[in-house]
């Protein structure tokens, strides 16, 4: 237990308390940053070997300790109450209700899609954003958020891509296949059925998954991406098992200014047990809490050439026709700029266009200096979206440092 008083810009000094045992802290300053600079200052003094009295804490410290003890007792009391058992009947009714809603949502979606087909895609493209967003909102109300995501993705695609008509048709067509499949889900083989359910928006309970046995391996972080939608932030981390060579995608969510629960750095290797979600060629996974960082590896293994990328996608589509993006490492390739697009070119001269959203083109060209490079990213049959880069046995991620767009080394 350490404490102190710090003179800030207010009239009275701020009272700072820090409990060493469980790293709890409190400071009376009005700063909204947690922990505030006064707590950190106190910690620095402590770490620097300053002498602190350990007995006879002043009144404000005693008060705080007393309050904390009270709160801890109350929490323990709550936790020890027997949990309410899940009523199977009520649960079944809830599930039925949801299926009913989804069914209605599917009908609305079907009608909306038929409308687009009969009036023409050019007409759909001319519609305002609300045309797409309202359908997405209806799907969210129908408890089918996965379908809502697909509709929102279509909205973005018609405005940004050159080959939007091809892509839109493809997206609508595959959505149709998904609807068809969902309607006769009982007749699908189990993995496909699980995939269809998860694509529509059914989630699997994490506790139930974590109870299963997973694959224990050394998992290397080969890619990391942060996306945000309104206030929901999503951290996508791709890991590759060094022995099993399987790819795993771990998703973490945070709302607003919360921190993510797991922290991954590009290149880190974890000894962990990965449990995969149900589905086809499942690659969304969870790492069990026993995961421990065991080192760093800055190589990218398993890179295939462009022919390999295409055949991998082909094979994957055979098993899961609704697959939209395939994660793959491609290399060795050179980065070439043609007019305003970037291309990856392999040794046989085959070309893979890079997604338009990639802004680090020149940084990558300057880095590689014409030499070959390996990239890890997602291939959707139209273009390649890079997530991380491996050059000269060093991993780089696409970063935005303040306002500067640059490839950052994974140290």
């Amino acid at each position: 237990m350490i404490w102190g008083e710090c003179q800030g810009s207010g009239a009275n000094p701020y009272q700072v308390r820090f409990a060493l045992a469980d790293t709890g802290y409190r400071c009376t300053c009005p700063s909204r940053k947690q922990p505030c600079k006064h707590v950190l200052g106190l910690l620095y003094l402590y770490a620097g070997g300053g002498s602190f009295p350990t007995t006879a804490p002043p009144a404000f410290v005693e008060e705080w300790l007393a309050n904390r003890a009270k709160r801890a007792d109350a929490k323990a009391a709550r936790d020890s109450l027997p949990s309410v058992p899940v009523d199977p009947e009520a649960q079944a009714r809830r599930l039925d209700k949801r299926e009913g809603r989804i069914g209605l949502g599917l009908e609305q979606l079907q009608a909306w899609m038929a409308d687009i087909v009969s009036q023409g895609m050019a007409h759909a493209r001319a519609q305002p954003q609300s045309f797409w967003m309202q359908m997405a909102a209806r799907l969210v109300d129908a408890q089918a958020p996965g379908l809502a995501n697909r509709v929102r993705a279509m909205a973005a695609m018609v405005l940004t891509e050159e080959n939007w008509s091809e892509r839109l048709l493809g997206a609508l067509a595959r959505l149709q296949l998904l609807i068809d499949a969902y309607r006769r889900i009982e007749s699908l083989p189990t993995p496909l059925a699980a995939e269809a359910r998860s694509l529509v928006g059914w989630t699997q309970k994490q506790e139930e998954l974590l109870a299963r046995r997973g694959i224990s391996d050394h998992w290397q972080v080969i890619g990391k991406r942060l996306t945000s939608e309104d206030t929901l932030r999503v951290q996508s981390t791709w890991l590759r098992g060094q022995k099993c060579h399987r790819l795993a995608l771990v998703l973490d969510f945070a709302v607003g200014r919360q921190a993510f629960t797991s922290v991954f750095t590009l290149g880190q290797v974890f000894a962990a047990e990965a449990v995969f979600f149900d589905g086809v060629r499942p690659y969304r996974a969870l790492l069990k809490p026993s995961a421990a960082a065991v080192g760093v590896s800055l190589h990218l293994t398993g890179a295939v050439d462009i022919g390999g990328v295409e055949s991998e996608l082909g094979a994957a589509l055979v098993e899961n026709p609704w697959l939209e993006r395939w994660p793959v490492a491609v290399g060795p390739v050179t980065v070439v700029g043609v007019q305003d697009r970037w291309l990856l070119v392999d040794a046989l001269g085959r070309r893979l266009p890079i997604a338009r959203s990639f802004k680090h083109g020149w940084s990558l060209v300057a880095l590689t200096g014409g030499e070959t490079v390996d990239l890890f990213g997602e291939w959707d049959g139209f273009d390649f979206d890079p997530i991380s880069v491996c050059f000269n046995s060093m991993l780089y991620s696409l970063a935005q440092i303040d306002a500067v767009t640059v490839l950052a080394r994974a140290v």
Partner: protein, 503 residues
Amino acid sequence: MLGLARHTSAVDELLPDAAVKLPEGSREEGLLRCAAAALLARLAGQRSAVAEAPATARAANIAERVIADSALRLLAHLSAEGPKELIGEWFTRASKSGRVLPPQWIPAVFEMLTAELRGEYASIFGARIHWLADQDARWAIEGLGQECNERNWQTGSVAERVALLKRARATDPDTGRAWLEGTWSADAPEAREAFLQALKIGLSSADEVFLEQALDDKRKSVRLAAADHLSRLPGSAFMQRALERLRPAFEFEPRPAGLLAKFSSRKLRIELPSALDKAALRDGIEIKPPANAKVGERSFWLTQMLSVPPPQEWSRRFECTATELLDAVARSDHAGQVFTALCAACVRHPDGEWIDALCAGWRARAADQASGAVAGIAALLEALPTDERDQHVQAQVKALRNQDLIDLSLQLLTCTGHAWSSATTSLAFEVLLMHIQGSAGPSYLLGPSALESWGRRVDIASAAPAVQRILDKIGTESPFRNAVERLLKLIEFRIDMHKELLA
């Protein structure tokens, strides 16, 4: 694309060789299912064509040491949140350190700088920037890769040519001027103006003939630039003409005879010129004074004429010191105009003795013209080369302080433009402390912009302990505390930056 409503063919015909029968459903659904099948077939089966791989030249490996990542993050922070003035310092330090940017940073840093600065700090880009420029011309640094020869002079863009001329003048001024003379008649007026400005580098009496020609140019800004350059050549015909023009206007009355002669102060006779002849107009004297200056035409002419020759000329001709002459000026008619003109002349032809005398003159006027005095002194000192300037700044600040004009000495420190030596830094903080202890509350003198300009210029080694001492002395309740703490933070930031760039 156009919609199924306008088509009447049966959907079945779209995929005649589909092996699977399509499920029941509307035409729209059927179309989508066919499309799905077609798309999947294409995606699964597509294979890019094997072709000739384009040959890309490989860049050379980077041999030099690379600037540390932490220093680069500092630069990114500076460019996003500032303080922006420190960016220039970052680049100066970085280019002096002999290190280069890590290659992936080159495009981003290139775009942070203007074209001129890219040339100035070119060393931090290393050789890789030339390879990049070969890939795409947008990465070319103007005038850098080019050889400094006449062919490039004749065939480049205006900006490139200005850069080449500057480089040529720095090493071989006569050749530079010869190039300019070669293309002078063919160049556009804007280009001529820019080139003439560049002639300032390596200016010498050898350029006189060319500059006299330029005095006849059609474009006014070219004529003005030529006149300005000529006025800095004391031995030129231009200067002779200027002195001749002033002969009747600026003269001491003849010494009265007799023993008392030494003790009576001589009177300066100043006569306003009655008319401007063609030569005067050609030499750049303007007829009409600017609208807001409340001076008559003739005294405006006198001021312009008097600001051309070096003031040392007068102390030589009249065999007196600068101080004596200025005393006489103060007692004569048109004292104010003449003083201003002599200041302008001294800025053109810096001279230690005259600067001291003129600054004393400003200090004497400081009572009624406080801000003008500081500006006047600062202008005089700016004309000096940096090493001499520091000494003079110290002297003037001390003088102002001894006259109890603390505010003015602070102002002077704030508006000087060079990096301070450690002696100047210590003096500055002494004066600051006097100001803080003497004044009632925070003033504009310690506003954010003033502090930033101090923070940029102090000698960081001696500044940090000096500021710390001030903080200790003024105590925690002082209203100045925030401002001084900000200054300390700025200084510490610079110290960190220096450490990172050399780490």
